[in-house]
């Protein structure tokens, strides 16, 4: 036991003393979350808009309040002439204008239909589309509200609602994906490289020629990465809750338990790679090409699996990250419990056990 502890202590020293490893280990998740969260998002926040309310009645005021309350918009002024508005657009002061015609509420109540003019700066088409769709959904929201309270069938346009993500947040899709990606990267690559490094520098020879059992060498190598990966899971979740405003809807303990299972899967893969390779470069290459690429392609995180040819859909079933991705999405975003994910958990456990058996079988107590 004492041997085991001193070994784990040594492993921690290796990780904590190497700045590059530390940077990869703890910097990567943060950077990935932030890049996916902010740089690669199609969300538009705090866009400056103007509202011209020529109606100034109950309906228009309520819609304006709703727009103002949304964090996507920042109403700079509510009254403006057409000329001023055009100038503001040209200067780039505003991105969109919402104009209520006179008698807005009247039209709505008596003709069952009313118009709102939405003018967007389409020099950035993506941005404009996003903004108009935000405003569209706010208006539809109001229409829905009206329909509830009266029997008059106000015209309601077909609504595209994002299930579980009504505000069209970008984060829900990628946080589980990034978690799978980071754990895969940290656990597979780092364990494989750290074991192969011992082979490369010759320290493995000394470790083997000692009373310490070879299998314990491997296990004590994996434990620090298990702990460090759990810290990574925690930091990703903290970032997602406090920076990306994406709460964990389900049971957080269940999420950690499932993450631990997936980490063990990844560690097993890492150990298997380390048994089969003899140089750090090869280990790293296999980890990246052999594990990371399939994770990105077949987990469903970047490319929907339903759109793939059937053989590739079958193939995706053996990718552990696919199951973990589904599990995290279900717990974190849909807030589901274990009842909903026991099947995925079972499959992931099965893959883990299979990998574990293969790794331990191929593990050698000698050099070759």
């Amino acid at each position: 036991m004492k041997q085991f502890l001193v070994f784990i202590k040594k492993e921690f020293a290796h990780v904590l003393r190497d700045r590059k490893t530390l940077l990869i280990l703890f910097g990567m998740p943060v950077v990935q979350i932030l890049i996916f969260g902010f740089a690669l998002t199609n969300e538009v926040k705090n866009s400056r808009i103007v509202v011209m309310d020529q109606a100034n009645d109950a309906a228009s005021k309520e819609i304006i309040t709703k727009i103002g309350a949304s964090r996507y918009f920042d109403i700079v002024r509510t009254v403006m002439s057409h000329q001023q508005m055009e100038d503001a657009f040209k200067r780039g002061d505003i991105r969109m204008a919402v104009i209520f015609p006179a008698g807005f509420n009247n039209d709505l109540l008596h003709q069952n239909a009313a118009q709102i003019q939405v003018i967007a700066d389409a020099s950035d088409p993506n941005n404009a589309t996003t903004l108009t769709s935000y405003v569209g959904s706010i208006i539809q929201d109001y229409q829905a509200q009206l329909s509830k309270t009266s029997k008059v069938p106000y015209r309601i346009q077909p609504e595209i609602r994002m299930l579980y993500n009504p505000q069209l947040k970008g984060a829900p899709n990628f946080v589980p994906g990034v978690m799978a990606l980071v754990l895969m990267l940290v656990c597979v690559m780092m364990t494989a490289v750290s074991i192969v490094k011992e082979k490369e520098t010759g320290t493995m020879e000394i470790l083997l020629v000692s009373p310490f059992r070879p299998i314990l060498v491997i296990i004590s190598k994996a434990i620090p990465y298990l702990l460090l990966s759990l810290i990574n899971v925690a930091s990703i979740l903290l970032l997602s809750v406090f920076v990306l405003d994406l709460p964990v809807n389900g049971n957080i303990l269940l999420l950690f338990a499932e993450s631990t299972l997936f980490i063990i899967t990844c560690l097993t893969v890492g150990i298997f790679i380390s048994v089969k390779t003899n140089s750090q470069q090869v280990a790293m290459l296999i980890s990246l090409m052999g594990m990371l690429l399939p994770t990105i392609l077949f987990s469903g995180f970047m490319f929907p699996i339903e759109n793939m040819p059937v053989p590739l859909q079958w193939f995706s079933n053996i990718i552990p990250a696919k199951w973990y991705y589904i599990i995290v999405k279900d717990i974190m975003i849909k807030g589901l419990g274990f009842n909903a994910i026991w099947k995925e958990t079972l499959i992931l456990s099965g893959i883990t056990v299979a990998l574990l058996i293969v790794s331990l079988k191929s593990f050698k107590i000698r050099l070759s």
Partner: protein, 303 residues
Amino acid sequence: MEAAVIVKDLTKVYGETTAVDAVSFSVNQGEIFGLIGPDGAGKTSIFRVLTTLLLPDGGSATVDGFDVVEDYSQIRSRVGYMPGKFSLYQDLSVEENLNFFATLFNTTIKENYHLIKDIYVQLEPFKTRRAGKLSGGMKQKLALCCALIHKPTVLFLDEPTTGVDPVSRKEFWEMLKQLKAQNITIVVSTPYMDEANLCDRIALIQGGKILSVNTPGNIIKAYPNQLYAIKADNMHALLKILNGYDEVLASYAFGEFAHASFKNKTVDLEGVKSYLTKKELTGIELKKTGTTIEDSFIKLLKD
């Protein structure tokens, strides 16, 4: 007294190449036994079989009476092993490395401090320094400490002095002598012929085969001829001429001299000198010289 290491017809094959070819020798308890041979002679393969890291393809070997295949776990907890490459953790400090290996072998630095004391006092001033920042000689001393900390019965040192400066090399061999006094059997390999004399017995090895096993003294004594050291301004021409000289039995470059032995027991030095002068060589020096292990090795290789 039973031999500490017994190797019998040991063979190790890698694909097409036979690295170790039916090698047999034994090492007595408490002696320094040297495996002397150039790179690629099969020294490391023999070490790895003896330390249970490799399985032999033929023959057998025992260490301390334990079979290297069957009883590998017993051997692993009794022997000390220092691989050829510097094999400690570069990012751990001197003290941490030592502590790690002590714990790994179920012991403490305190318990066996007397074994490493003489070596460790030199390392003590740097005990908080990382192993990667030590000089080559210091690294070697630390590696020896780590291999010794569990009081091994047999110590295997694979080319411990390769890449180490001459002063540290000398110190290192002094340390081995002290360890021998503590009744630790030492099996050491080296490509340096001059270190052979520091061993109690040596095995000369080349191409996976053992050429001779004996004490260094006996190996030198077994050399049949008187050797002469010859020097000239143009060494290249001298070697060529000696090769073609029909009085010469054998000649080869040896450091800054050429070594040669002659067919006649009584050599006419003046005659040789005038022969060489006639061949337009200048600055000729010619003198008797003692036989070294390297001379024996070269002769054994040619036979």
